[in-house]
């Protein structure tokens, strides 16, 4: 990128771009991190947010209205929309695994050139948490992934093959980074958009995975 953005600015830029892809009516599950920010940029009022800890109809909450027993999957305080409902964890994952959630937006550590992602474990570190990531990947009708295009050392996170343990054999549908937006079509990455300030040359240089321009 030629312009220098703060980490927060970059995250918001990605979240805003993801929001453009959401058309209601639909139900969306937001992962922790950048995905959570997507809610701020959704423009349609018939998009409902599902959180796997047991609420359909997540909204923002004002500081004064915070309820410690009303949180999202990141354990952050949320509000409840009109028409929302509460349910237990098995009913919540029945919704996810059973294919009743339209879109899951997840973070990823790596993605391979067929759209398979790794987002739950790093080799050599203790494998300590998986949460709902594997369930969302097998169950959501569409999966959108937000991620940094490169590691701190500059190496690509869009790889020929994931070096970290994969989260599912399922290929995701769209990938959003600070440089570019890709569709996954027939098991191939297809560049569909450049992010503000990014050039096609930079994307080519920083993407190990093969992609269709």
């Amino acid at each position: 990128m030629t312009t220098q953005m703060s980490k927060a600015e970059t995250q918001h830029m990605i979240a805003k771009r993801v929001a453009l892809e959401l058309q209601g009516p639909c139900t969306v599950n937001l992962g922790i991190g950048i995905p959570t920010l997507v809610a701020e940029y959704m423009t349609e009022d018939n998009i409902y947010l599902h959180t796997e800890n047991g609420l359909l109809g997540v909204t923002d909450v004002e500081e004064a209205d915070i309820d410690p027993n009303l949180v999202n999957a990141g354990k952050l305080p949320v509000g409840e929309a009109i028409g929302s409902s509460f349910f237990n964890s098995s009913d919540s994952f029945a919704m996810i695994r059973g294919g009743h959630v339209d879109v899951a937006i997840l973070g990823a550590l790596q993605v391979d050139e067929t759209g398979v992602i790794a987002n739950w474990a790093v080799p050599g570190k203790n494998i300590m948490g998986v949460g709902g990531a594997m369930d969302l990947l097998v169950g959501a009708k569409k999966v959108f992934v937000t991620m940094n295009h490169t590691s701190k050392d500059g190496s690509s996170k869009l790889l020929k093959e994931c070096t970290y343990p994969i989260t599912s054999t399922r290929q995701v549908d769209m990938i959003f980074t600070e440089l570019a937006v890709f569709n996954v079509e027939d098991g191939q990455l297809k560049l569909v958009d450049l992010m503000p300030g990014a050039t096609i040359e930079e994307v080519r240089e920083k993407t190990e995975a093969a992609f269709i321009e």
């Binding site: 959180t51 800890n53 964890s89 203790n126 494998i127 998986v130 949460g131 097998v138």
Partner: protein
Amino acid sequence: MSKIQHDIQQALSYVKSGDTVLVGGFGLIGAPLTLIDGLTEKDVNDLTIVSNNLGESGKGLGILLNQNKIKKGIGSYFTSNRDVGDKYQRGEIELELLPQGTLAESMRAGGAGIGGYYTTTGVGTDLAKGKEEREIDGVKYILEKAIRADVALIRAHKADTLGNLVYYKTARNFNPLMATAAKTVIVEVDEIVEPGELNPEEIVTPFIYVDFIVKAQQILTKEGVVSV
């Protein structure tokens, strides 16, 4: 015999060393904080704890962990407590990591007389290693086994004196499932009411699942956990 117990340690007398114990909650939300606190004061060890998380460092189940009372943890997200990783590296605790939906479903299965089930979750990943894979109608599944336990420690919002339970917002989470999957179920609640005060259409956990009821003495507030 009344299900209401005023003495936390009396209620916890059903927890024995070596037991498998289900503990409700998603982090601290919906966790039976009073019962967990009671467990940290009890002389018991070699526990297998089934819970989404093992608390946070030095909080909730995290205290139990640091007291070396936990032999094994079964959960989906131990990352919330860095002590778990440290103990695991030192070989001081066994861990079984399950996808969150599998953790929930396995307890539901345990409570419902289902021995195991085929799920799509985890197929082809490291968490499927050692698990049977099977194709049904062209879709790949792995076999997951039911979870049953000796004791469940759960949290609800209100109980009537019979043991019918209702929950509060996202503090519901794993609690109703755990109520079905243990030989002895101990629930802590904010309020105890008379039978008939809970709407029969609204009861989430019917009383047959509940053995003992205690009043919560530790409550999660905006300011953190407070004693009442």
